[in-house]
Symmetry: C2
Subunit: 476 residues, 2 copies
């Protein structure tokens, strides 16, 4: 294990120069050259050095035959050569005085071969010997929108407050793209792969001290130093929520973990205890992960379990109530005072005045919706609000709904007694234009800081996780 001060890991995320070893003259599908191209596409502002013994220029950049021939010590080196050549490249880094290395290359212990395991051991030994800070191997490395630093395409997004630590490059790519496209931006992401040298506790400790990061999302398959991870997570979790996608829960998933990152997934009972004792929030898939991040990023804390459902239709109200209860939340009756406020504008026939509130006009008349929200925020039995927001579609009567997103989100965000409020905009049918409209509407809510979800079940799942977290620490 190399020696370093915690804050030093920040160096991975703001290099002013990057050398890439393993750059061919053609753009291969996943080689170093394509990564170089991504940095160019993302308008990385620092100096880029392709290393290739035979080329003088690659992608319009001056190429160098070796690290030693570079005019400076690069802040970061990305190694993309064949696995068996990686130890020698690391030695070269050490000779040049490089400190930060990202090993992209796969083909180590995750192959399940003795050769792979030995190569990984060699990599660890060289790093230890020369005190190299190594991210990887078998990973996509560091990502930082503020530095226009991205190994995964020209989507650096905007600078945000989410920290990501992940053992899967693919998942990190998809996740950062996913959340950024919803306006929930990333500060720093570390795709750490086999995590042979620097592991998730190292990056967790770093992100704990990084004031730019307010929420941490982790994809974890296994852990070497469980005790350290546990202590860090327990200390951090009350002030910076940690939402964790744990891969390898099942025996079969754990077997895949070995093929993926070459490590053991650990005992599932240990992980259950971990979540219970740290307050770290577990999720099971990418959607739950993003959904949870939305609620944790945007909602004011809450302790109560009472959900007010502003629904679309009678049957939907029934199904939604069931879903709330199934998720461990409640659908309480409104207070007499709230009912007094609501009854005058809800007709007796074809609507339901109460909780859920089923009243068609709420889609057409934003003023009325704000009035209802105001009533809900004043009702002591109500802790959270879900609004089902239909997208205009031909099945419904009436040409469309007024665009009231700015009015609605403005009202919620500035309300002195606002409670966690989320929207559901669902459409999973086959009409590409309707799904486009729905997505657009959702992202406009999200961009404005009001979570919107593609189904009621996902909304309620995210609210339930959030409420559980708030309650966990409130009751300690």
């Amino acid at each position: 294990m190399p020696h370093y001060q915690v804050h030093e890991l920040g160096g991975f995320f703001k290099p002013e120069s990057i050398a890439v070893i393993g750059v061919s003259r053609e753009i291969a599908s996943l080689g170093g050259t394509s990564f170089l191209q991504r940095h160019l596409d993302a308008e990385y502002a620092g100096r880029l050095y392709p290393i290739n013994p035979k080329a003088s220029e690659i992608l319009g950049l001056k190429a160098y035959p070796s690290l030693s021939s570079l005019p400076e010590v690069p802040d970061l080196v990305m190694i993309a050569v064949r696995a068996d050549l990686v130890p020698a490249s690391l030695e070269e880094c050490a000779r040049k005085g490089v400190r930060y290395v990202h090993v992209l290359t796969a083909g180590f212990s995750e192959t399940g071969t003795r050769e792979g395991r030995e190569l990984e051991k060699q990599l660890a030994d060289v790093a230890e010997q020369h005190n190299l800070l190594v991210m990887g191997p078998n990973c996509m490395g560091p990502y930082c929108p503020a530095s226009r630093l991205t190994a995964w395409g020209a989507i650096p997004g905007r600078d945000g407050h989410l920290g990501v630590i992940s053992q899967s490059g693919g998942i990190t790519q998809r996740f950062t793209e996913y959340v950024s496209s919803l306006g929930m931006d990333v500060s720093k992401a570390a795709s750490i792969g086999n995590a042979t040298v620097l592991d998730s506790p190292d990056f967790l400790e770093f992100m704990a001290g990084d004031d730019d990061i307010r929420l941490i999302a982790i994809y974890q398959e296994n852990i070497r130093n469980g005790r350290r991870f546990f202590d860090l997570a327990r200390e951090l979790s009350p002030r910076k929520p940690i939402v964790m996608l744990k891969g390898g829960e099942s025996e079969q998933g754990a077997a895949t973990v070995e093929s993926h990152t070459g490590r053991m997934a650990g005992n599932q009972r240990v992980w259950k205890a971990f979540f219970k004792q740290t307050g770290v929030v577990p999720v099971s898939n990418m959607n739950e992960w993003a959904d949870a991040c939305l609620t944790f990023s945007y909602l004011p804390k809450t302790r109560g379990r009472g959900v007010f459902i502003i629904g679309g239709g009678g049957g939907n109200s029934v199904i939604s109530s069931d879903a709330c209860i199934r998720a461990g939340l409640d659908v309480p009756k409104l207070s007499p005072k709230s009912m007094e406020g609501i009854r005058p504008f809800v007709p007796a026939a074809g609507s339901i005045a109460g909780n859920p509130l089923d009243h068609w006009e709420l889609f057409l008349n934003p003023e009325l919706l704000l009035k209802v929200l105001d009533i809900a925020y004043a009702d002591p039995g109500i802790s959270m609000v879900i609004v089902d927001r239909l997208i205009p579609r031909i099945a419904f009567h009436g040409p469309g709904f007024p665009d009231a997103v700015p009015e609605i989100t403005g009202f919620i965000k500035t309300h002195p007694h606002r409670k966690p409020t989320v929207f559901t905009v669902d459409y999973d049918g086959g009409d590409p234009d309707l799904i486009r409209k729905g997505s657009l509407l959702r992202s406009r809510f999200c961009e404005a800081g009001v979570p919107a979800f593609p189904s009621f079940e996902r909304a309620i799942g995210a609210l339930a996780r959030f409420q559980k977290y708030c309650n966990y620490f409130a009751s300690l």
Copy 2:
């Protein structure tokens, strides 16, 4: 209860003339006039008669002052007058000799008032006395694409093989639109609301004998004649699968049921036993309902639990394996013979040869995917296949993927040893164009008869339900 022969209920779905009572001269948001407009939009081919005592023409159609003044006995009457006027309208129907009546009007027992309950009792009495076949009240009535008959907008879809019985008009609208847009077309839908006269067992019995219907989707909140429903369902379910969304599972949901359709939701334990003893497939929400219909419509039967996952990425493969196990399915090792077939084209580094199979090239090279499917169809341990199909997105290297939907679906549909095979095309981020692309890709698979889902979890949930159903009847 009126007397009728089962097949007579077919009359609701192929009327050659419809009279609408309760048509104002302006298009109100939900009144009879707007329904009339929908029938015109849908190009209903029969004769339409607006009934209005003061108008001579409505929406370009000749209006009549009363039912009695019509030149014929209409095949169907839709009643859209105020609730307290409904019994008189029914009497008028009886005098004219009408047999089929759809009562759209709400405001009966679901209001929770004594007045509402009494009105509903009156409605039942008039129907009984004159032997009227009444659908409703508080519902959207019959829907039949083959007759261009639709109360819910100009989306009659194409004639298909799905039968729908539902106590919620809104849910029926959304559901029929949803499945039709995925190319899974409806034969007949009955939105029966409070189901005061004709109830779900009546329509279930009718659909049992309707050869156009191969699969039945039911949204049920409560049941009056539980024994009859149970017997019918148990008899029918082995030959025509019944997928049922049961509303009012929780106490709170059941309370909403009373406000919605004015009836009791029934004991949850009774419903659990019902599902266990009939083989009817329970689902919890609209998406699960549509997903299940996709698998039941298109997949060949299967008994085994072994799923082969053709995945996208190492981390994803881990998460997907976990999801399979959680759903009660299995992710078995491939046979030695299958491994022999797969190893040659899966590189050792950066991919995983096995189950899940993680190999990037499968997205780029459809030939290779077909080769892998062929291997899976021959592997005795594999009973089902899920393929994760990415949509082209900027986060990934490479400009796009070849369009191989016709090639892939053709291969699957005509393979002599095909096994249930589904696709996952997921994207829930905020980019409206990507979500549009994903939706388009999904619906192209579905239209070709190969189910495609917006998330792995939904795909595996649908497969698990399907496999359970197949096994249930195979083991009886």
